[in-house]
Amino acid sequence: MRNKKKRVLIVDDEPDVTLVLKQVLDENGFDADSYDDPRLALNNFKANMYDLLLLDIKMPDINGLDLYQEMRKIDDKVKVCFLTASEMFYEKFRKEESYSKFDKELFIAKPIENEELLDHLNKVINNSK
């Protein structure tokens, strides 16, 4: 084993999206868990379980950003990537003060092809180490 597999948590309210993304990551050297219910994901979340959170933004009940804030309270080292199909949200986040700390690189526009997604995730995981 060269490296320990990077653990990724996928949360998206679209079951087909989580299903496919989990497969893609699992088959490409990641160890991924997926939830299509963000509340359930939060309830099951524990510190040091994941290296990276791959979160949808527009979800019922709790949006991706709030979910991330909650999870950071539990694990203050976990990294994040937001995967969103919404332009409006994407632009809005960067404008708002509270989210200005998020780097532009942390936002991924949906839909994205597998290679591109994997590159992006690797970059984010390796970046701040």
């Binding site: 309210d13 679209e14 087909d16 999206v17 299903l19 496919v20 993304l21 497969q23 893609v24 088959e27 527009k58 019922p60 969103t84 199909a85 919404s86 332009e87 409006m88 526009a109 949906k110 839909p111 994205i112 092809e113 597998n114 290679e115 997604l117």
Partner: protein, 790 residues
């Protein structure tokens, strides 16, 4: 009798009789003998003796009966006028001023005379004569009096006019002229018109006391009008001040210098004096010849000259007054402001330069005054002002509630209130000019307050300090004008601003509408983009995976993968169709291919389509169809595909929100009459799901209203537009368990296994009253109740 009289006259005697009885007897004796003429003359007491002393009175009345010609001369005055009027009935009466002596001549034969007489009493001493010479002398005297005397009627007219006898007198004695003027001024009862030749002339007549007499006259209650035309200058300003202070009812107009002074009093006497020495100190030194007259013609002429001059001067004065006046005293400005509003009787126009100006004017009560003017005096009040939140609130309060409280207290009827509100709407109008969005305050909005009352007066107030709350502190110079060109130019400035404000309002509204539309459009694009992108992600991801391991896929995985791909591709298809429909609806290019169709067929097709959805869910949802049984199949004129789309959409929503196990979705049709007595069908689709949340309710038929993350959120929006394009209506309700609901829970005996009360969607369609060709009738007949257990 007559022969006896003849005998008496033939004996020529002159005698004196004493004692009332004797004189009376004698007089009556003489009077009785008169056959044709009696000429009498007496002082002002005589009429009372003739007509007031009974025996003589009877004798005089007897003259009339006997047809005796009586001529009578006396001095008629106020105290004997009633006797004179009686005398006039039996005699030809004439008046002669200051007549003395009492005598009478009978038939040119006998003469009687009384030295002294007393009112209503018998003559104490009588002279009698029938001596021819004496009679002839007396006859001559009588005739000469007679010709000088004036007819009684004329005298009466003079007396009734209270006029002195007319005269026209040229006075060369300046002292006398002065006295005439003083007497005139003293005698003023009703009116006095004075034309003074120069400014100093007022000083001169004041020195004579004339002005003081006029003031005294003006202070009497009975006074009519006192008018003076006089050149006004420093020389006479003190006197004018005295007049205006003590007798403000004396009107003084500024006049030009003239070569004479003219004084007309009580429409009876006129006095005119040439001005010889304009700078002289006294009246008598200043004048040349003068004329004093009571002649009607003269007085009338002088008066008309005065009136002409007066009107000309007045016009001049008004024109001068019409010139613009600059006011510096801010208290006076405020007073004028308020007065103009209070005195206006048709219309008030007001332009306010800033929001602070509005607040300042409100603080001093001007807005309230304007409101009163509109409501109590029925004036039209129009205001152009910039506004802010506070002012808008204030305006709203004026427009809605002010005055209402009073009504409520009085308990006035609703109709009265409505009338007041109508009046308010009609009379009180405010338009806004928003300076904050104007490119430049200086250009866009006037920097002054403009008030125009009745299109006759204008008041324009500069502001020197807009920051203060105090009107008086903020006011700078003000210009008042009642000159027509000036006022009308302010009116047109007002109208321009008024129209501009309206235009601005329209533009602002249009702009707001566009902004909303633009925002909604952007939002639609965002959501649509999100919805379109989302299904692509699993397709893209899965295809990538499949490609990388295409030789190493087991059958089961492939099947799952294909299903997932299909699902998402179908979702994309649905979305793209829906978005295309929305675009068509919004660009108003949704076309319907209407034909006569059997509603039953369409519903059955839609049920068939939605079966697939239920099957996919792998649930156990019961679907029930209850068609209207009141007649043959329901025929509607509609676009078959679009109608199918609506019904499928409602069914599919119902299925989506109904629990998979034991849920019931039912659809029914029911014929109804509309209010206009047209036939319509109500199609209702009911589910047993959780019902519509109160949060969703108002947005049900909006785009992307759906909370379902599986749907496009466009279905109900599209359905609503399709139904409305067919002339129908669509709405949704939550089911209520009791029987009073709009259409009580579909099936009387359907158990609500799901527990939730569920929702029901209704739509109506007009029923076409035509019959279909028999071959068009297909599908189950009307009696069929299709129940699908799935």
């Amino acid at each position: 009798m007559s022969s006896e009289a003849d005998n008496t006259s033939s004996t020529r005697t002159t005698e004196v009789l004493y004692g009332a009885d004797n004189t009376t007897d004698k007089l009556l004796q003489v009077f009785n003998k008169i056959k044709s003429n009696f000429d009498a003359c007496g002082d002002s007491t005589a009429p009372s003796v003739c007509m007031g002393f009974e025996p003589l009175r009877n004798a005089y009345l007897d003259f009339k009966r006997r047809g005796i010609n009586v001529r009578f001369i006396t001095e008629m005055n106020a105290s004997n006028i009633s006797y004179c009027k009686e005398l006039m009935k039996i005699s030809e009466l004439r008046h002669l001023d200051g007549i003395k002596g009492n005598f009478g001549i009978c038939d040119q034969k006998e003469f009687v005379a009384a030295a002294t007489i007393k009112e209503q009493q018998a003559v104490p001493q009588l002279i009698y004569s029938n001596v021819k010479e004496i009679i002839e002398q007396q006859e001559f005297i009588f005739e000469s009096f007679w010709t000088r005397a004036i007819p009684a009627k004329q005298r009466i007219r003079e007396m009734e006019d209270a006029t002195e006898p007319e005269f026209y007198e040229v006075i060369s004695d300046h002292e006398k002229a002065s006295q005439v003027l003083v007497d005139l001024a003293k005698s003023v009862k009703k009116e006095a018109f004075f034309l003074l030749p120069n400014d100093k002339s007022m000083v001169r007549i004041d020195r004579l006391g004339v002005i003081d007499y006029l003031i005294k006259a003006a202070q009497k209650d009975s006074i009519g009008s006192i008018r003076i035309i006089c050149p006004i200058s420093e020389v006479n300003s003190e006197i004018i001040k005295k007049v205006t202070e003590n007798a403000p009812n004396i009107i003084i107009l500024n006049g030009n210098n003239s070569p004479y002074g003219m004084y007309i009093v009580d429409n009876q006497r006129a006095f005119r004096a040439e001005l010889k020495e304009p700078e002289a100190e006294t009246f008598s030194e200043a004048i040349g010849f003068s004329v004093y007259s009571t002649r009607r013609n003269t007085v009338d002429f002088f008066k008309s000259v005065f009136e002409l001059l007066w009107n000309e001067r007045k016009l001049n004065e008004d024109l001068k007054k019409a010139a613009t006046e600059v006011i510096q005293n801010p208290h006076r400005i405020l007073e004028l402001f308020i007065n103009m509003i209070k005195l206006a009787n048709q219309e008030i126009l007001l332009v306010l330069p800033t929001t602070n100006a509005f607040l300042r004017e409100d603080r001093v009560g001007i807005i309230k005054l304007l409101n009163d003017a509109a409501m109590e005096r029925n004036l039209i009040v129009r205001i152009v002002t910039p506004t802010n939140e506070i002012i808008e609130k204030r305006i709203q309060r004026i427009l809605v509630s002010e005055g209402k409280e009073v009504e409520e207290e009085r308990g006035e009827l609703l109709a009265v209130q409505e009338e007041r509100e109508e009046r308010k709407r009609k009379n009180f109008d405010v338009r806004r000019i928003d300076i904050t969005t104007s490119p430049s305050e200086k250009i866009a909005v006037t920097t002054v307050t403009i008030l125009v009352a009745d299109k006759k007066e204008s008041l324009v107030i500069e502001k020197i300090d807009d920051s203060t709350e105090n009107f008086v502190e903020a006011a700078g110079l003000a210009t008042y004008s009642n000159s027509k060109p000036t006022v009308m130019s302010y009116v047109s400035i007002f109208e321009i601003l008024w129209n501009q404000a309206e235009l601005y309002l329209h533009i602002k509204e249009a702009h707001e509408k566009l902004k909303v539309q633009d925002r909604m459009q952007k939002e639609f694009i965002n959501v649509a983009a999100h919805e379109l992108r989302t299904p692509i992600q699993p397709i893209l991801g899965l295809l990538g995976l499949l490609r990388s391991k295409k030789d190493d896929i087991n059958k089961q995985d492939l099947n799952i993968s294909l299903n997932l791909l299909m699902r998402n591709a179908q979702r994309l298809k649905r979305l793209s169709e829906d978005i295309l429909d929305v675009t068509k609806i919004e660009s108003q290019s949704l076309k319907l291919n209407k034909e006569l169709i059997n509603l039953n067929d369409v519903i059955l097709n839609a049920i068939q389509d939605s079966r697939n959805q239920v099957a996919k869910n792998r649930g156990n949802i019961k679907m029930v169809y209850k068609p209207d049984l009141s007649g043959h199949g329901i025929i509607v004129e509609a676009d078959r595909n679009r109608l199918n789309q609506v019904i499928y959409n409602l069914l599919s929503n119902a299925i989506k929100f109904t629990e998979k196990e034991g849920g019931i979705v039912s659809i029914r049709t029911e014929k109804k009459k509309t209010r206009d007595n047209d036939d319509e069908v109500i199609v209702s689709v009911k589910d047993s799901g959780p019902g519509i949340s109160s949060e969703m309710f108002p947005r049900l038929f909006e785009k992307f209203a759906s909370k379902s993350f599986q749907g496009t959120g466009l279905g109900l929006f599209i359905s609503k537009n399709i139904v409305e394009a067919h002339g129908g209506k669509i709405w949704g309700e939550n089911n209520i368990r009791n029987e009073n609901s709009h259409i009580a829970n579909h099936g009387e005996d359907i158990e609500e296994k799901g527990g939730g009360r569920g929702a029901c969607f209704y739509f109506t369609l007009p029923i076409a009253n035509e019959q279909l060709e028999p071959k068009e009738r297909k599908g189950p007949n009307a009696e069929a109740v299709a129940v699908d257990d799935l």
